[in-house]
């Protein structure tokens, strides 16, 4: 059987890679995808701990996280379409209307 530690370490690695992608990517759609990667990493930790404690709360929470991620994707993609329509770019470096 697989020790729970392995799952948690994999979850931490995936979350770190998500943070890395969030900071380094310039494309707004890819930044959005890195947020989904981080949510997935958290879901893995939830399911792993749910198995440790022999309780289903973690799996129910994963379902809620997935619902929130779906809602977030819908709204976020609306925002992305708005940005592209107004500024004709997907590069976050060029979306600097609040910059002094």
């Amino acid at each position: 059987m697989v020790p729970t530690n392995y799952y948690v370490i994999l979850s931490a690695i995936l979350f770190g890679l998500g943070v890395f992608a969030f900071i380094f990517k310039r494309n707004i759609i890819t930044i959005f995808m890195s947020i989904e990667l981080m949510l997935n990493a958290v879901n893995l930790a939830f399911v792993a701990f749910s198995q440790v404690w022999h309780r289903l709360d973690g799996q129910v929470f994963v379902l809620f996280v997935i619902v929130v991620a779906a809602a977030e994707a819908a709204v976020g993609i609306g925002i992305i379409i708005m940005i592209v329509r107004n500024r004709q770019t997907l590069n976050v470096g060029r979306v600097d209307i609040l910059k002094l």
Binding site: P3, V8, I9, L37, N40, N43, A73, N91
Partner: protein, 173 residues
Amino acid sequence: MTAPLIVFFVLAALAVIGAVSLIFQKHPIHSALSLIVVMIALAGLYLLLGAEFVAAVQIIVYGGAIMVLFVFVIMLLNAGVEEHTSISKMAGPAGLLLVIALAGLVAATIVRSTDSILGTMQTGEMSSPSGVSKTLGISNMIFKDFVYPFELTSFLILVAVLGATVLAQREKS
């Protein structure tokens, strides 16, 4: 090395390779395909953990709905290869430092807790190993213990649908 451990390492390697590929691909459509690989690998890990229902939802909602939405928008907006800006030079060292600090913190916590409950307990040995009863338990929790959050979820989705419609509609000129 037992069979579950081998399956775990294969799926974990697939997930990490997909995540690294997401970072280093220049074209957003390649990043999206890498993310689909990560999600399918994670669905396999959920199956390995004995969470069949979550694995199915992961494939249907994440791999199906959300990623199709992403690919659809990438093609709709005709997104090209990522361009570099001057801002990435400033964000580089700071971001790397932040990521290393985060990874170090998580690793330290995991290493410290190895001797306690996490290290001794093994996964995959549920008291009720039958998948049907586990899905039954999830539905019981959602519709009994978590019924208010569940109803709030439907409200959240309604707000998200309205918000997306309002944001994406063309302005009348």
